[in-house]
């Protein structure tokens, strides 16, 4: 196993980027549905 992180297992950077884009869209959708941010 190479020691440089990140390490992709059963996937690659391209496929990962698409899956992370899905999460990003959901986060933006959720953000826009909030009337006020309490952080």
């Amino acid at each position: 196993m190479k020691k440089d992180f990140p390490v992709f297992i059963n996937t690659d950077a391209d496929e990962f980027v698409k899956a992370r884009a899905k999460r990003h869209e959901l986060r933006l959708k959720m953000l826009s549905s909030k009337e006020k941010l309490i952080v």
Partner: protein, 157 residues
């Protein structure tokens, strides 16, 4: 010459995650007979992946199992999902542990996903215990996964 702890850790991680892909029903062979496993509660996930709730929440429920037999049934029953798991490992930390410091505690962080799902951020902790008859071979005695929500999840209206 025995492998260093770091070499053991890296070889273990590669074997563990790749076996999910190639042979999930044999994954339980990596666990000790009295091992404890806290893993994705696949039974609580909707069978239809397009269900919005499945995606909107950025954490997943977990379930706790004890014993190699139960762990074997778990991975066999959820074979399809386990087989499709994809992982980006971001970090690994490790220490030696146990009475003679021959066992290994390791903590990974990363993101995982399945075909057509968004990513889920996780932290996974293992304890590896060397076999009595061969200190170069390790069993998993403990395995805990925990999903970590994005801070936006906690923002309230």
């Amino acid at each position: 010459m025995s492998a260093t702890v770091q070499e053991v850790v890296h070889a273990f991680l590669r074997t563990y995650y790749e076996r999910m892909k190639t042979n999930p029903s044999k994954l339980s062979n990596m666990y000790a007979s009295t091992a404890e496993l806290t893993h994705v509660n696949y039974q609580q996930l909707p069978s239809d992946d397009s269900a919005l709730d499945f995606f909107l929440n950025d954490t997943l429920p977990t379930v706790k199992l004890t014993g190699k037999d139960n762990i074997n049934k778990f991975f066999t029953r959820n074979n399809k999902r386990v087989n499709d798991l994809k992982v980006k490992l971001n970090t690994v930390d490790f220490q030696t542990t146990g009475a003679s410091h021959k066992s290994i505690l390791l903590v990974t962080t990363g993101e995982l996903f399945w075909t057509d799902t968004p990513v889920y951020r996780f932290c996974q902790t293992f304890i590896l215990v060397p076999l009595l008859r061969n200190n170069d071979i390790y069993d998993i005695s403990n395995d805990i996964i925990r999903f970590i929500p994005d801070y936006l999840q906690e923002i309230e209206i």
